[in-house]
């Protein structure tokens, strides 16, 4: 107990220090690196709180893919932040006041991990008790995300899709410029760096394999479409960095990525519509098969596939959209 408390305090203090360092940093490159570290610390904190699923997502998306995307975006920006002090005072005031208010509120909150706390007393016991009976998968978090609150997860998939649409709309070579592929520098990626090349070659198949494992094993262990998509993208981006942008685009062309992004979200929704056509509510998986448990399993498998497709398609599209511009 006391050890985890000390570790918690240590990690949270590091988090605050990192956040302050990000605000202070005027060099954008170090700000990006620090925000990667911030995400990694956040993932550790989630892990300490036994939220393994969230920790995995944060590590893969926050520390991994997001950092690469920010670095790709940095190529279009100057190296240091432009200085303008105008609204600083107001921003600092808002942050300080809202922090103080949250600290004030925290004095009235139930102790962390208290079994008598309201969240542990109301819906959580029901999920724990009913999941084996109604959905029958070992990972209750997956059951909540994919089935009990599957409508929210559908919404999150559309958030990801919308983000992709936004980047493709704004950067998608729209202003009369055709898609240029890459400059000569990026053409052969990091080919000359022998060590990187060898290590990446060994790593990529394992990263992809692990991604697929996370995708299809989400019901049994932490994971699911979001994490799997992020891991697959990490592997594919690594390939793009090593072998060059053009080769990566030859493996998966932009149009395929678009179909993957749109198709995943549509697939998820179609599972819901199938439930309606078979006489249930939207996203009711129980009616998908003759046996309601089998229906739940089928529904969760397919929607997780949809999530994985959209996350993979969108994140890769965003990467290429940034990488293709200078």
């Amino acid at each position: 107990m006391i050890t985890s408390l000390l570790i918690g305090i240590f990690l949270l203090s590091l988090l605050v220090v990192t956040a302050l360092a990000i605000v202070r940093a005027s060099d954008l490159f170090s700000a990006v690196m620090l925000s990667g570290i911030y995400s990694l610390l956040m993932a550790l904190n989630f892990f300490l709180l036994d939220a393994a699923d969230v920790a995995l997502t944060e590590a893969a998306v926050g520390a991994g893919v997001a950092t690469v995307l920010q670095l790709a975006a940095l190529r279009m920006a100057p190296a240091t932040e432009a200085r303008h002090r105008r609204a600083r005072g107001l921003a600092v005031a808002v942050v300080v006041v809202s922090t103080l208010l949250m600290i004030y509120a925290s004095f009235g909150q139930p102790t962390l991990g208290d079994p008598q706390a309201p969240p542990q007393q109301h819906v959580a016991p029901w999920y724990i008790e009913k999941t084996p009976e109604l959905v029958d998968i070992p990972n209750i978090v997956s059951a909540v995300l994919a089935s009990f609150r599957g409508y929210d997860t559908l919404g999150e998939v559309f958030v990801v899709l919308t983000a992709g649409i936004g980047v493709m709309f704004l950067l998608g070579g729209g202003r009369g410029k055709p898609f240029r592929g890459l400059d000569s520098q990026g053409e052969d990626g990091l080919q000359e760096h022998l060590i990187l090349k060898v290590v990446a070659r060994i790593l990529i198949p394992f990263i992809l394999l692990f991604g697929f494992f996370i995708q299809f094993h989400g019901e049994y262990s932490p994971g699911g479409g979001f994490q799997a998509g992020a891991l697959l993208v990490a592997g594919l981006i690594l390939y793009a960095l090593i072998r060059g942008e053009r080769r990566a685009l030859a493996v998966i062309p932009p149009r395929v990525l678009l179909w993957l992004s749109a198709g995943g979200a549509f697939l998820y929704g179609s599972v819901g519509v199938a439930g309606m056509l078979l006489g249930g509510e939207f996203l009711n998986y129980s009616v998908l098969a003759s046996d309601s448990i089998a229906g739940q399993h089928l529904g969760i498998l397919v929607i997780e596939l949809g999530v994985g497709m959209t996350v993979t398609g969108v994140l890769l599209s965003i990467f290429h959209a940034f990488a293709a511009r200078d």
């Binding site: 983000a163 649409i165 998608g172 729209g174 249930g280 509510e281």
Partner: protein, 497 residues
């Protein structure tokens, strides 16, 4: 289950699932057509849903077949139905009337992405309107906000990008505040369902997290609703957005945030927090009053018609907030009515602006000198919608101002002051609209642009339909009144189920 049982969820998933298909199209015209048809379909579903709610009371839907609080439920009462009508109606109007304007602003290559984002925005806003779950509201708030940023960033003016960045930052702060509040409430009640929350809050009233949560939620939503002085994102976002996008968002997006604000404050907090109503009044009324007066005054001095109308929107949001801040049944009635009537007026006005811009190329008052003589039909429609915005008897705007004044007089001692402020700001509305109308009719057009030049006949017809709807709902206000009455009683009874 029959089709009519599915109405609440269809309202959301029809535009939502159409979006991924639209972005796969390669042709801008087809994408536009698909979006218009989807919006018309959403409007049809919305009308059906409204009829069902008025006939049979609030509708509930358990997504995934899981009953609340374990699953997510959708709850549609008359207030939600009113919002759904506004959202789908505004989308149809803006898409149908904005075809030419959008073709100018968005190049053909990128158009499918744009219309996909448009449909996602429609779905996101509708999703908030029908949601019965606090976290579900947040998810759809994210969807609609992101999509709206994309729509605004489509503007040809490069300043759209900096305007949208400001909106993005402020909107994200608003959404985060809302989420912090919901988190605190979940911590104290263990539930996310609105109705369940209202019941379970009784046991933990006056605990610190709940009080702080009420503050975070109110301020977060006030940011999104652009209640003065948290409106700083609005004028530039409305001004630099593509003209058709302004028609859409000006008619419905701030109203949806106000809707959530009212839902949370009246259905969840009102009966549970001691003195919450007084606090809410004390917070909202002064802000609303200063918004009404200051934003109207600022509007008088604008030199761009879109910005002028945007500041007018800040003032109008003030009216709605003022009505809600009275925390009485008659106040809520006035607030809901004004949401509807202001959407009618602003939608029509911005549609006229989009038409002016097609001819003059620009919306600065200088370029629009003499436009009234060049485009008599469009200008006539503008004047009618403008009269409704001012609140002249016989128009829809008069109905809601009337109810607002009645509600203000019931408020007690300061009621007369409130009424005085309403009257003064209505006069200011006359002033800022006259500022444009005078130049449009009597000003000298820019050199070489004096020949009459109207927009196409179908567009003129649509503009006139929109303008005449302001008269229609002024003479026959039964529908919005019925919705507002039923919505008010549902909201004040607390629970929906």
């Amino acid at each position: 289950m029959t089709l009519s049982d599915h109405l609440p969820v269809l309202q959301v998933i029809v535009p939502l699932l159409a979006a991924p298909l639209v972005i796969l199209l390669r042709n801008g015209f087809l994408a536009w057509l698909a979006s218009l048809l989807t919006s018309l379909c959403a409007l049809g579903l919305g009308s059906q849903l409204t009829a069902t709610v008025l006939a049979h009371g609030p509708q509930h839907y358990h997504v995934g077949g899981w009953a609340p609080p374990f699953g997510i439920s959708l709850s549609v009462d008359a207030f939600s139905a009113l919002l759904v009508l506004l959202i789908s109606g505004a989308s149809c109007l803006a898409l149908a009337g904005g075809r030419l304007s959008l073709r100018r602003d968005i190049d053909n290559r990128r158009a499918p992405m744009f219309y996909g984002a448009w449909l996602i925005a429609v779905a996101g806003l509708s999703g908030i309107a029908v949601a019965g779950d606090a976290f579900n509201v947040f998810v759809f708030m994210e969807i609609s906000s992101l999509a709206t940023y994309i729509l605004i960033a489509g503007g040809r003016d490069r300043r759209a990008l900096s305007a949208v960045f400001k909106y993005l930052i402020i909107g994200t702060i608003g959404a985060t505040f809302y989420l912090i509040g919901v988190g605190f409430i979940y911590m104290m009640t263990g539930t996310l369902n609105f109705d369940d929350m209202a019941v379970r809050l009784e046991g933990v009233i006056e605990t610190r997290p709940v009080v702080i949560a009420a503050g975070f939620i109110t301020i977060g939503l006030a940011l999104k609703a652009a209640i003065f002085p948290l409106h700083v994102w609005l004028p530039r976002a409305y001004t630099y957005a593509p003209n058709a996008v302004t028609v859409f968002i000006a008619a419905c997006s701030t109203k949806v945030a106000l809707y959530v604000l009212l839902r949370f404050n009246f259905a969840v907090f009102h009966g549970n927090l001691l003195g919450h109503s007084e606090l809410f009044s004390a917070f909202v009324i002064p802000l609303a009053l200063s918004g009404i007066l200051i934003a109207s005054l600022v509007a008088v001095y604008q030199t761009n018609l879109k910005k002028l109308l945007a500041f007018s929107s800040v003032a109008q949001v003030g009216y709605i907030a003022l009505a809600a801040g009275l925390t009485s049944a008659s106040g809520l009635l006035a607030a809901m009515l004004h949401m509807f009537n202001h959407a009618l007026a602003k939608g029509s006005l911005f549609l006229c602006v989009a038409a002016f811009a097609l001819v003059s190329g620009d919306t600065s008052l200088k370029r629009l000198q003499g436009i009234g003589r060049r485009m008599p039909w469009t200008m006539g429609a503008f004047v009618i919608a403008g009269l409704s915005l001012i609140g002249v008897p016989g128009t829809a705007g008069f109905i809601s101002k009337w109810y607002l004044i009645v509600a203000a007089l019931e408020f007690g001692q300061v009621g007369f002051l409130l009424v005085a402020a309403i009257v003064v700001s209505s006069l200011m509305a006359v002033a800022y609209l006259w500022h444009f109308v005078e130049g449009a009719y009597y000003g000298t057009p820019p050199a070489g642009e004096s020949s009459p030049m109207e927009v196409s006949l179908p567009l003129r017809c649509l503009i006139w339909v929109a303008a005449l709807s302001n008269i229609f709902f002024g003479l026959f206000p039964q529908l919005p009144l019925a919705l507002a009455r039923s919505g008010t009683s549902a909201l004040l009874q607390g629970g929906l189920y």
